[in-house]
């Protein structure tokens, strides 16, 4: 304290450092904010905990071998079979059809928006297109079963009302904006220099877009694709409404099929007792779904990170 008098400058510095020292309320505030951020980890932990704690008792009764090799899924019947393959197959078929619709459409629209459309038009079109992904999925389900399926039935004879094709096509339309928006962002991030170089060599717009811009944005486009796949795999209401409720091991798009998600909905609509094996099946199915989407998500994150580092 005596030094304050001896050295006024030092005293002023002390006073400032005292004022700047963090008050307990500020520390508390930061801690509160940290807790909110940590909550996201707790949510993930909660998901993993619930899926495993309910699926482990299930796998004590049903072996993993049976789960992955049995070709029938009939946990709610008297003759019980626990083969997840028909459900996974249903998910893969609907996802496949959705991708056949969405990948070309989404990519073409992305290229067109980034390299062909005028900026004003692009700024108008993008939000309107994104409205497609804002439509509630249950409304898309309505569209699939009330409009698309009957319309397809007029073209394809003997098409049942519930079919994989209608569900897949509508799901594809739903995920177009995911692909087009994210891919377009990636393509716009490609430096103008590359385009100008290409134009300078005498290339036209299309060649530039396909040979220069698209390859340069490939990891970003890849991230968009994987995100779209993971959306399609996890999509629930469209397939629960329009694809039917019959687990069948088939890739025929004109037949009925049940997806992993649709099965969970089917069981949830009924009233199964908590703790029964049938109840646990939805968590085993959920775990399968979680692992499938997690793989795609991590791939997407890795791709996006690489793409950020390029320029």
């Amino acid at each position: 304290m005596t030094q304050i008098a001896a050295n006024p400058a030092r005293g002023a510095r002390d006073a400032i450092s005292h004022a700047a020292r963090r008050k307990p309320s500020a520390v508390l505030m930061e801690f509160g904010l940290l807790l909110a951020a940590v909550l996201s980890i707790l949510i993930t932990a909660g998901i993993v905990y619930v899926l495993f704690s309910e699926a482990v008792p299930f796998f004590r009764v049903v072996s993993l071998w049976e789960f992955f090799t049995d070709s029938q899924w009939t946990p709610l019947f008297d003759d019980k079979h626990f083969g997840i393959l028909p459900l996974v197959c249903g998910t893969m078929t609907t996802t496949g059809i959705a991708l056949i619709v969405a990948l070309p459409l989404g990519t073409i629209i992305a290229i067109w928006l980034s390299d062909f459309a005028r900026p004003g038009l692009r700024e108008t079109v993008k939000p309107i297109l994104e409205l497609l992904s804002a439509v509630p999925t249950v409304v898309f389900g309505y569209f699939a079963i009330q409009f698309v399926s009957p319309a397809l039935g007029r073209v394809i004879p003997d098409l049942p009302l519930f079919n994989v094709l209608a569900a897949g096509v509508v799901m594809g339309i739903m995920i177009v904006p995911y692909i087009s928006s994210l891919s377009e962002d990636a393509m716009r991030a490609v430096p103008m220099l590359l385009r100008e170089g290409s134009y300078g060599m005498g290339a036209n717009r299309f060649t530039t877009a396909i040979r220069v811009v698209f390859p340069a944005s490939l990891s970003g486009v890849g991230a968009a694709y994987t995100l779209a796949i993971s959306r399609a795999v996890g999509e629930t209401m469209i397939v629960a409404i329009a694809a039917g409720m019959q687990p069948t091991l088939t890739i025929d798009p004109t037949s009925q099929a049940q997806t992993v998600t649709a099965y969970i909905v089917q069981v949830s609509m009924g009233d199964l007792p908590h703790g029964s094996l049938e109840y646990q099946t939805i968590f085993a199915a959920g775990l399968t779904l979680f692992v499938m989407t997690l793989g795609f998500n991590l791939l997407s994150v890795a791709l996006r990170r690489r793409f950020r580092q390029v320029y």
Partner: protein, 417 residues
Amino acid sequence: MRPIDHTIRRGILVDRAFSIIGWASLIFCLSMLGLLLYSLLSDGASRLSWDFLTSFPSRRAAAAGAKSALVGSLLVMLITACTAIPLGIAAGVYLEEYARKNWFTSLIEVNIANLAAVPSIIYGLMALGLLVYQFHLGQSILTGGITLAFLILPIVIVATREALRAIPQHMREAAFALGASRWQVVRDHLLPYSTGGIATGVIIALSRAVGETAPLVTIGAISYIAFLPPVPFSERPWLPATNAQRAVARAAQADPLPAGLGTGVSPLRAGTIEVRVRPSDGGGAAVSTTLAFDPSMSIEDLRAAFDSVPGLAASLTPSGYLALAADSGSEFRLAGDTAGLTRALGLNEGGGLHGPVEWAWSPFTVLPIQMFNWLSTPDEAFAKNAAAAGLLLMAVTLGMNGAAIFVRARMRRRIKW
């Protein structure tokens, strides 16, 4: 070698062709949106009326309405907004303004990116296992609201971070240079400047939550709700003779009663329950009888005990439900339930006042679930109701997205750094 003008002409042709293909793809997608709206309108517009908005669901398609679904959606959204907005903004502020660059922060970041892409039905499974069965929140508005809040939390966090990142660094430095603490900078500068961006993200996140169906189906939201959640501090009616349905226990087929009977949520304990019976004309005092209950009693023992109360008749319905009814000319209520009987059996207590937040524990349905329910009814007449519900949903979600676009556009015009 081909002449150069030929190559150029070919290039221009290819460009034009692709431009047409691009237009065609875009128009195809937008026409699908148009067709979707058209099919909803052509089926559902005739059902949209004041009666549709103010009627409960019904077994007759023409009389059914979306009242309980609308109220349910509104209340679930209230809980979702109150949970997700503060938590999401707080997490976003922490990650953008406070967090140091270390492994823990990047773990949180990867985790949020991953959560954003977890299928919504997985959130439903998590809520079913954790909120419903571990935390005993029941299949209630509260559970539904929290589930959807978890679901949209990543969207709010990402929107907050992007809005904060758009503020130039020199704004922070100027405030720090004047001696502001970090929290003062956040509170007085960063949050006010980023309000528009955060609001845009919050509106889009909430519009996604309004349309979510799968997670709420998974936690067991009921699709046929013909009552509204209780208004705070309103008086519960006593249970009359003519309305025995209101006192019907949910499920009691097992014998002896297992713990967690009925909804499978509330455990039964040894305890007492008081039955008060009074004349329904309002004159005359209530007669009170106390019944002792222990969890080993069978449903038949329970029926006999209630039946022994003067003025009260107890019976088992063919499907094993316990139904209580007062004798004609009188009404009754249950009170002092230390056995957890009313919750475990879903018995209506009657009488007394509703608590301030009792509505949050009420069973519920929401608009998308009501629509799904009508859509999965084989009767084609219900499809019109589904279309009408779809129109309401589309009006809400598209309206919210329009609002978000509007807010974003205004913000862009106003703010210049």
